[in-house]
Subunit: 218 residues, 2 copies
DNA sequence: ATTAAAATTTAGACAAAGCTAAATATTTGT
DNA sequence: ACAAATATTTAGCTTTGTCTAAATTTTAAT
């Protein structure tokens, strides 16, 4: 696969949200920041190569083979993201562009050894799961902190309320996007919860818990 | 610079042995496994871009700017080689192909952090020096072990005598290509020497020392 | 100093991947 | 159900990097 083909495969995969969904030419064009006519050309080629199913005017989906390629790309992308954050001190929001390049490196041994070097991580710095070598992986879902059951952990990925006071609170309590949070206990009465974050244990009110999004795997 | 342009720059650089030498179109073609006519086209383009000096029928050399690019590529290539060997357990002879891909990744931060992560290595697994960020580096030369002064270390890169008995000797003494050897002491009388290799200290006869090539930096 | 051989360049073609503009399908609003 | 709006494809052109074959320049041998 060429670099360009791989990018299209990934785009089709992501637009289909990982399900094997048919996506429109226009949607792919928008995602790839290219023109619909270019997409038509490429999906024809991918179709001939056995990577995609394409019916004119009806959209495009990935074949089994195409999905395998997509998953391998996602696996590589996310492993490199972990590497960049854990080993090279990149912050969680700086990694995407570089991982986008690294995911195209072709070497099975490289990926396997990288995986091992990183301790076989299950999720990337954004809380998204890393497919196994065989392509298996759990889905990730975004939930509010208050909806997460006791004993489960997730990665902080966003806020519902983005008002300055709330952001200031997070800052003061050293809760940042990308942090892993484990739910230790929940108080039925007022909805407050105990969480563990970076070795610290803190108690958090319901108002806070209902405004913080975490990504968890099912 | 495109991938292809970078490959040509590296080829010109390596053929010129790092000196700013003029190299022939044919030489570049052979190195790149391409046709001389393709080289002509490309060096014209590189010339227009201010990367190379090209006179028809007279060969091509790199400009200052071109040399900077070449050194940056060499730096990246060798840092990745160190990474692959030290962190991902690649052997010294498996790294080239993968490093060839990795060297094209564009991210200054990535290179700087990688350098730091590896502890600012001075040489790659083949004993070749790694240019600094600014492009400075020492030359490496290949010498027989017996020619190396006391206190200096080098990396084992080849044998002069490749007869089975000699290779068997190396194997038995666990001396392999890629190993770092430090010269501890030399015996004037019989030319035998003491070396340190992988924490072990061993005594080696003149016959051995005159048949083992090391790469050292001046 | 010529001429044959070798090296290099030029000209013209091709594949990949993209674009624009025009043509054609599909969808939607009434 | 039909016309208008939207989505998609086709046709033809562009750029990048490559190739082959022919032309030209340089080098080497007598």
């Amino acid at each position: 696969m060429t670099l360009s083909e791989e990018d299209y495969i990934k785009a089709i995969y992501h637009l289909g949200k990982g399900e094997n969904t048919t996506v429109s030419t226009n949607a792919v064009a928008e995602q790839m920041e290219t023109k619909p006519s270019s997409v038509t050309d490429m999906v024809k080629k991918l179709s001939e190569k056995g990577v995609a199913n394409y019916k004119p005017y009806k959209g495009v989906s990935l074949t089994e083979y195409g999905q395998k390629i997509a998953l391998s790309l996602v696996r590589k992308h996310r492993l490199w993201e972990v590497f960049l954050v854990e080993k090279l001190d990149f912050s969680w929001d700086e990694v995407h562009e570089v991982a986008e390049q690294l995911e195209h490196i072709k070497s099975e041994k490289l990926v396997d050894q990288l995986d091992k070097h990183l301790g076989f991580p299950q999720v990337d710095p954004h809380g998204d799961p890393i497919p196994s070598k065989k392509g298996e992986f759990k889905k990730a879902i975004k939930k509010l902190l208050n909806e997460i059951p006791i004993g489960k952990s997730g990665i902080c990925v966003g806020v519902k309320d983005s008002s300055p006071p709330f952001l200031k609170f997070l800052d003061k309590n050293k809760i940042a996007l990308g942090d892993t949070i484990l739910v230790l206990d929940k108080e039925e009465f007022d909805g407050s919860i105990d969480i563990q974050i970076k070795e610290r244990t803190i108690h958090i009110s319901s108002q806070i818990a209902t405004n913080l999004y975490l990504k968890i795997t099912e």
